[in-house]
Symmetry: C2
């Protein structure tokens, strides 16, 4: 009997992805609804920009034709750190960020790529808004204090460019920026506290926006991957051949 | 560059394991603390007893010498359904339940087994208490109504036998039964509501008992597998060679 292979949802990104196993995080909620359907694999890397993430992506995305689980859905959520300002080492120019994202998508979608995976559906996620006021306060309290390392204006440019890239490549984009920006009256400091627990990282409410949009994106763009459309691994217990379970488990 | 392999924590069991991706469930909390260290894989099968789970285990546990991730930690949490009463089809005699658990452990630990995996640490988990009153009410409300399908007395026998098996095989046992039983004044109906949301399945508070005991068991029995003892996959961003990240990501 060969070992059962369970395909995957791969979440690739920075700290906002790494933290998605929190209670109410989008990894946790995906894992719950995709139980016995797809495994959720979190490859979030705190602090990474898209340039640093690239060699990681080369190592974690399965090679073409490899045995083992297939990535059925890949979320790429980068740019929040790229959008830092000088002198932050995390800063990466916008065109470089976008070309990295484009390269990752190409690695998966190009028939000539050693990572070619035609069964992988990709969703890009934009950087979310952050709170300049809360972030300034957080950084000022460090030892030594650090000056504000990003602006809403700059992060918004990265978010817009991710949306543009998705249009250009016909890859669905989950725009986290706009709904949170609008729900907080264009980034009101007090209102942003609901969505960002430290000014930068998403709270449960922030992740709820992401999760809801992600499920809606799957529903509309890749309905065959919606959890309700996928068969369950192994029969429900009432459908088993109780006296001879081996006969019903293949 | 070979594909990066991330080893696993494999959670095997019934619905109480399957539901562990809930907010505050022990899968979610493990995934959070083991991020970038071990992947948490949930193979919980709602309603299954140990007899039905056996052919599943044969399919999901990796074969000896197989490529791919190793199971570093395996939790086996079965028996709650075996402890049903006649005429429930889930019922399985105690000796049969224990021999199944023993067989699963032997599959992993016996050098002659095709599943032999000396690097896998195993933790057995006992069935938790349940609420006879809440369960009776839940089953009576079904169409057609179902008579109470288990008793605390019988479930406790299965829990005790799992503890005994662990002693016999020198496999650590996470006894969920006793602490919840004692915290509820020996199964007080009202107090059990805190730990069991429907009389049978664990609430967040119930999973908290499991998670805390599990981490303590890892700490004392397999300290090398505690999340604080494991290196993080890929360097922290401050430790990267920023200008040449490929040099620091291997």
């Amino acid at each position: 009997m060969p070992t059962k292979i369970v395909d995957q949802i791969l979440l690739f990104g920075d700290s906002i992805t790494q933290g998605a196993w929190e209670e109410g995080g989008f990894a946790q909620r995906l894992a719950y609804v995709y139980a016995r359907k797809l495994d959720v694999i979190n490859r979030g890397l705190s602090g990474y920009n898209s340039e640093w993430a690239m060699p990681v992506f080369e190592q974690i995305f399965p090679k073409k034709g490899a045995d083992g689980p297939k990535v059925k859905l890949l979320t790429i959520w980068l740019g929040a750190n790229d959008a830092c300002l000088d002198p932050s080492p995390q800063r990466l120019p916008l065109d470089r960020c976008i070309s990295n994202l484009k390269q990752m998508i190409s690695m998966v979608q190009s028939p000539n790529s050693e990572y070619y995976s035609p069964e992988t559906r990709i969703i890009l996620i934009t950087p979310p808004p952050f709170s300049e006021a809360a972030r300034r306060e957080n950084l000022a309290a460090r030892d030594p204090p650090i000056a504000l390392d990003r602006t809403s204006e700059n992060t918004m440019k990265y978010a817009d460019a991710v949306i543009e890239l998705g249009k250009q490549l016909n890859v669905p984009v989950l725009d986290v920026y706009t709904p949170i920006w609008e729900a907080t009256d264009n980034g009101d400091t007090k209102k942003l506290e609901t969505y960002l627990y430290d000014g930068l990282h998403l709270s449960k409410e922030g992740y709820t926006v992401v999760y809801d949009l992600l499920i809606r994106t799957i529903e509309t763009k890749f309905p065959e991957l919606h959890y309700d459309a996928l068969p369950m691994d192994f029969p429900g217990w009432k459908d088993l051949d109780w006296a001879n379970p081996r006969a019903s488990i293949n």
